[in-house]
Symmetry: C2
Subunit: 174 residues, 2 copies
């Protein structure tokens, strides 16, 4: 019987529910984080060591074009990969702290208002929407101010001219 999940939605369309897809769907639906393909692959490998990275990409592509997941890039914090999340949740914006990387979700009504304005203003039929916001979270604002101050001091002291923003180092593959 088709459940009220991504899995159910696929069954109805006659998409085959392979073991690999079951694993991936459960990870995407039940994991509370925003996963990128590589991370998803690593997690899936724990349940099926034989699973291939390509299968992850193909599954994500299928889910995306089927409107079952949304693709984000979280302002490219951490690199150029894409992140994925189910569409089971209500529409929301993503708020990314550019210093600590924390991601918040915003569900307020201004989003629906914006959506409706766009639809009526252009006579546009919206299929996907995505709002991403980058900046400093309340916690990092003070820390950031301190960093800037220290930077200024070290400059007059004659030290390094600039500090690259904290980025996740590019991951090398096995």
């Amino acid at each position: 019987m088709a459940q009220d999940t991504t899995e159910g939605s696929l069954k109805e369309r006659g998409v085959r529910l392979t073991r690999q897809r079951q694993i991936l769907l459960e990870l995407i639906d039940k994991t509370g984080e925003h996963l990128d393909a590589e991370r998803l692959f690593q997690m899936a490998k724990e349940r099926d060591p034989k699973i291939n990275r390509v299968t992850v990409y193909r599954t994500l592509k299928m889910l995306k074009s089927g409107g079952l997941v949304d693709e984000l890039d979280l302002m490219h914090y951490g690199g150029d990969q894409h992140y994925y999340e189910t569409r089971l949740k209500q529409e929301h914006a993503h708020i990314i702290c550019l210093r600590c990387g924390k991601v918040e979700e915003f569900f307020g009504e201004p989003l629906q208002r914006l959506r409706k304005q766009i639809e009526s203003h252009f006579g546009f039929q919206i299929l996907l929407a995505r709002t991403e916001v980058g900046g400093y979270c309340s916690h990092c604002q003070t820390l950031r101010a301190r960093e800037v101050e220290e930077l200024r001091e070290s400059l007059s002291g004659g030290a390094r001219p600039d500090k690259p923003p904290a980025r996740r180092p590019r991951t090398r593959r096995s």
Copy 2:
């Protein structure tokens, strides 16, 4: 004398205004389209055949981290590259037709409202914001309906099971 442009802003920071940068800045500031790195490179090459693709990437990176341009991806219509635009304009959302590729810009006040809500709700300091919307423009909605109908007919006729969405073919480089 520093003009009220991206160029002026760079001079004030002591960034060198090389010939290459002048070309790129003018293209970005004055071109009405959303350019990706490759396109920008091709256009720049017409004015300076010696210019290198790497210089384009480095300039874009510098402008982005300096807050002088915004980076978009227009819902990955046309591929995985990024698009760039000056920040001289007021904040706006991008509306992309997934069928014809046309990009509209939305400047309405719901955007400011959304921004303020997010700032006050999380105590967040916004540095960048980006809203991208994909769907069908008013013109393509009817055409799309017709396509779906034709697809249905051809299916019962026993023809091809699916039609890949119209995508710009991946460009091979010289």
